[in-house]
């Protein structure tokens, strides 16, 4: 079987026909198979939401945890067995809303993982409430007079936090998306990919066409290592929305902060209870 085939789940999805999630799944599987990563060599951590159902819609090691809590269990895995690749995948409500504190602090940790955020600017699964990225004048059943906070710009936030890899892609451009996911997977350190994803059921403003009219790829000579340019480009939103790797830098990854993690992964190590005798010396 080809690697691509290995990822095929055998069940229908819970997604709506026409949803951007299908394209993301496709690009993801292609990215993984082009990198020759098998389903058993990678773990996917997700929260709760439509996007977060991903591990049920392909065949992969998966930890489908709690709403807003996709990142923390991945940190545990990075420590326990860094030999497995790590994908954290969830909706933008899950990631930037309920899970905001984990995002904030894991950028500081810089764990080696690819974080794919399906940004449909809406809470899909719970049927259409505003999310942190909903546009300024979005009105919903809860906010009939419009949302009460400014939209969150994840790209600008992550660049300013000096995350080690910050990209935007678009489910409507699967080639670009595949390439970006590959780069995120290959990047050593925390790699955020905010993926614009139309929700055909609840977001009637930011449709596929809306995005298509605005999205453009960063210039070929764009230098993602240039922090101040990145910060500026991160502001672009509205008439024109850049996609691509907006910012990048290499720095110490989380696991390397623990010198005791040098040899085999923890999961392969047993504890020798005889060591207790040495430990008791402190209490004698």
């Amino acid at each position: 079987m080809s690697i691509k085939e290995l990822y095929q789940g055998d069940k229908e999805t819970a997604w709506c026909p026409g949803c951007g999630n299908f394209a993301i799944r496709k690009s993801l599987i292609e990215a993984l198979s082009e990198l020759e990563i098998k389903p058993t060599e990678v773990v996917m951590f997700t929260g709760i939401g439509q996007a977060a159902k991903m591990p049920h819609h392909l065949r992969i090691n998966g930890f489908n945890g709690l709403h807003g809590r996709a990142l923390p269990p991945a940190i545990g895995q990075r420590i326990a067995n860094p030999e497995l690749k790590t994908i954290v995948e969830s909706g933008e409500g899950d990631t930037y809303g309920e899970g905001g504190n984990h995002l904030l602090h894991n950028i500081r940790r810089n764990p080696d993982l690819a974080h794919l955020v399906h940004n449909n600017q809406v809470y899909g699964l719970t049927k259409g409430q505003a999310s942190p990225t909903s546009e300024a004048d979005t009105s919903t059943l809860i906010q009939p007079q419009g949302v009460t906070a400014e939209p969150f710009n994840p790209i600008k936030f992550a660049v300013a936090m000096e995350a080690s890899f910050v990209a935007r892609s678009f489910s409507g451009d699967t080639e670009h998306l595949k390439k970006t996911i590959k780069a995120a997977l290959e990047h050593p350190g925390y790699a955020l990919v905010d993926i614009l994803q139309p929700c055909v059921s609840f977001n009637k403003v930011n449709t596929l066409q809306w995005y298509q009219e605005r999205v453009y790829q960063l210039e070929d000579d764009y230098d993602p290592y240039d922090y101040s340019t990145a910060l500026k480009r991160a502001e672009e939103w509205g008439a024109k929305i850049p996609i691509g790797i907006i910012y990048k830098q290499e720095k110490t990854i989380f696991k390397d902060r623990f010198p005791q993690l040098d040899e085999a992964p923890l999961v392969e190590k047993d504890f020798d209870t005889e060591k207790l005798e040495d430990l008791l010396v402190d209490f004698e």
Binding site: A14, E41, G62, F63, G65, L66, I75, A80, F258
Partner: protein
């Protein structure tokens, strides 16, 4: 012989150092020790004190009376003067009225000043105490040499010690003792050591008094033993990090107190439905909310047992002593792995900060049982089902990457045997029953029974759980010595609720529940989970631990009348 030395002063005056040095000295000399802390939630000032109870027979709790007071400031005289027994000794730097007690005035601060370091005043007091007790200096000198690592500081302390020794006369004659094969350890350390001995590989936590000592201890060994301790951004992250590590195949743990546990409660249910082993040390303090951060209470019992929405198997261990913190934490890891569920180790500030001598732990008593799929099984699996339905409710557990070509999928939604989301009634029922079956299997295969102390024929049965054991045992012994037919049943597991020994010892007795809360939570549990009813409850909720004397007195007054 049974003496209680109280060292009192304000936060920042170095009480802990005095306690450490005295504990160590008395321990080295072979005395039995039970030392506790009473401190405020502040860094400087206020009023704190340490009680070091020591004697020549095993001690299981703090004393009520104060025999000797070392008062580091005037406030301490005010607070403790009347608590010191008649003929008791007060050591103080100054002259004060002490009624029918003996004042040993020690010019500690002048001496320290002369020696050129005001901080060694406390060591002067130690010297004075040793002399009053008729003890030699040698042991303490060795202790000081180990305690400090700077030659100059050691020397000045040795001088201070000797000067203090010279300030007073011998007042008390202590028996000679010589106990071997013991260690001196507190509850949090014992809990952490139990986890380390069980092979914990990952500990994620967020600081919260009085649980932080567990994390500190494990962290201090992390480099040496290849463990990772990570300070999480909050308790929600902590429990989810630990779950991720456990899913990946290592033994993982988190720890906190009640407020942090509240934040973890959603994650507890996640452990339950994903069937991921997890140890949570919940070191109780008085609530609700912030409550009394540095004090003790046993009021999280029902919360812990019932925490998180929905229903799932859970074990709640309630170690009864410092020693038990070690053994039950160790065992909890085996139980969590075997039954693939969360285990809460429910301790409290009293245990956490109780330092005592216990019989040296031995690795020979320890058998780590992971219960993961073994290599042979791994090879024979074709279509791996993480949640395979089995008779005992326990499915074969593999970690990601362990099986060739097979993935491991876990889910917080209700799921089928492969871990995929389902919504049909039939599968739902099967999965609820599967998880519930694990609780039945535990009840069948494990003994989580309480310990009984007392004679065969009893009229009264004192029932307690967790840390109240030590004081309750002391009370039971005294009551028995007074010829009351009183037995003691002490629970160190409360969930699933064990009933065998209750059924054996309780019939025909009057049950008296002793616990550290205001609503008699264990008594409720007893009512709903057994055939018995509490006759009377002795409760305490002032933030302080029980003493044996207190239980004894209240038993006489409230029960026997």
């Amino acid at each position: 012989m049974d003496l209680n030395v109280v060292i009192a002063g304000e936060a920042g005056q170095g009480l802990k150092t005095v306690e450490d040095i005295l504990n160590k000295t008395l321990f080295e000399m072979g005395y039995d020790i039970y030392s506790t802390k009473d401190y405020m939630s502040r860094v400087r000032g206020g009023h704190n004190f340490m009680s070091i109870r020591f004697g020549d027979e095993r001690l299981t709790g703090p004393a009520q009376k104060e025999d000797i007071l070392i008062a580091l400031n005037e406030e301490s005289i005010k607070v403790h003067r009347d608590l010191v027994v008649e003929e008791g000794i007060i050591i103080y730097d100054g002259e004060v009225e002490v009624d029918n007690k003996e004042l040993l005035s020690v010019a500690a601060s002048d001496i320290a000043q002369e020696l050129g370091n005001p901080k060694v005043a406390n060591t002067v007091f130690i010297g004075a105490l040793l002399k009053a007790l008729g003890l030699y200096l040698k042991t303490t000198e060795e202790v000081l040499k180990e305690y400090f690592d700077n030659e100059k500081i050691i020397n000045i302390n040795l001088q201070a010690l000797r000067k203090g020794y010279e300030q007073v006369e011998k007042k008390i004659s202590l028996p000679f003792v010589n106990k071997g094969g013991q260690i001196l350890i507190n509850g949090n350390q014992a809990l952490g050591l139990g986890a380390i001995s069980a092979g914990v590989k990952f500990y994620a936590g967020y600081p919260m008094t009085p649980s932080t000592g567990v994390m500190n201890y494990i962290a201090s060994k992390q480099e040496e033993l290849g463990i990772v301790v990570e300070q999480a951004e909050d308790e929600i992250a902590a429990i989810n990090m630990a779950l991720g590590a456990s899913y990946t195949g290592v033994r993982a743990m988190t720890g906190t107190s009640g407020g942090g546990f509240a934040l973890m409660s959603e994650g507890l249910g996640l452990a339950g439905i994903t069937e991921t082993p997890l140890i949570i040390a919940e070191v109780q303090r008085p609530g609700p909310a912030t409550g009394l951060p540095t004090r003790t209470e046993q009021a999280d019992l029902q919360f812990v047992i019932n925490a998180s929405q929905g229903e799932f198997p859970l074990i709640v261990a309630t170690p009864r002593s410092v020693e038990d913190c070690f053994y039950q934490t160790f065992r909890s890891f085996n139980l969590a792995d075997k039954y693939q569920l969360p285990v809460v180790v429910l301790s409290d500030q009293f245990l956490a900060d109780s330092t005592m001598n216990v019989i040296r732990f031995s690795h020979r008593a320890l058998d780590i049982q992971r219960k993961l799929i073994n290599e042979e099984e791994a090879e024979n699996i074709n279509n791996y089902q993480r949640y395979k339905l089995t008779e005992d409710g326990i499915s074969p557990r593999a970690y990601p990457g362990q099986l060739e070509d097979q993935v491991v999928l876990v889910d917080s939604d209700e799921h089928d045997q492969f871990g995929n989301i389902i919504e049909d009634a039939e599968t739902r029922i099967k999965m609820v029953d599967k998880r519930a079956q694990k609780m039945k299997t535990i009840t069948k295969e494990e003994s989580l029974e309480p310990e009984f102390a007392g004679e065969n024929e009893i009229d009264y049965l004192i029932v307690c759980w967790g840390s109240t054991y030590g004081p309750a045992l002391e009370a039971q012994k005294r009551l028995a010595a007074d010829d009351y037919a009183v037995g003691l049943l002490s629970f160190n597991y409360v969930w699933p609720f064990p009933t065998e020994k209750l059924n054996k010892y309780a019939p025909g007795t009057k049950i008296v529940v002793v616990e550290g809360n205001s609503t008699a939570q264990f008594a409720s549990l007893l009512e709903s989970e057994s055939d018995f009813t509490s006759h009377h409850n002795i409760l305490k909720y002032d933030g302080r631990p029980f003493t044996g004397t207190e239980i004894y007195n209240r038993f006489i007054k409230e029960v026997i009348k």
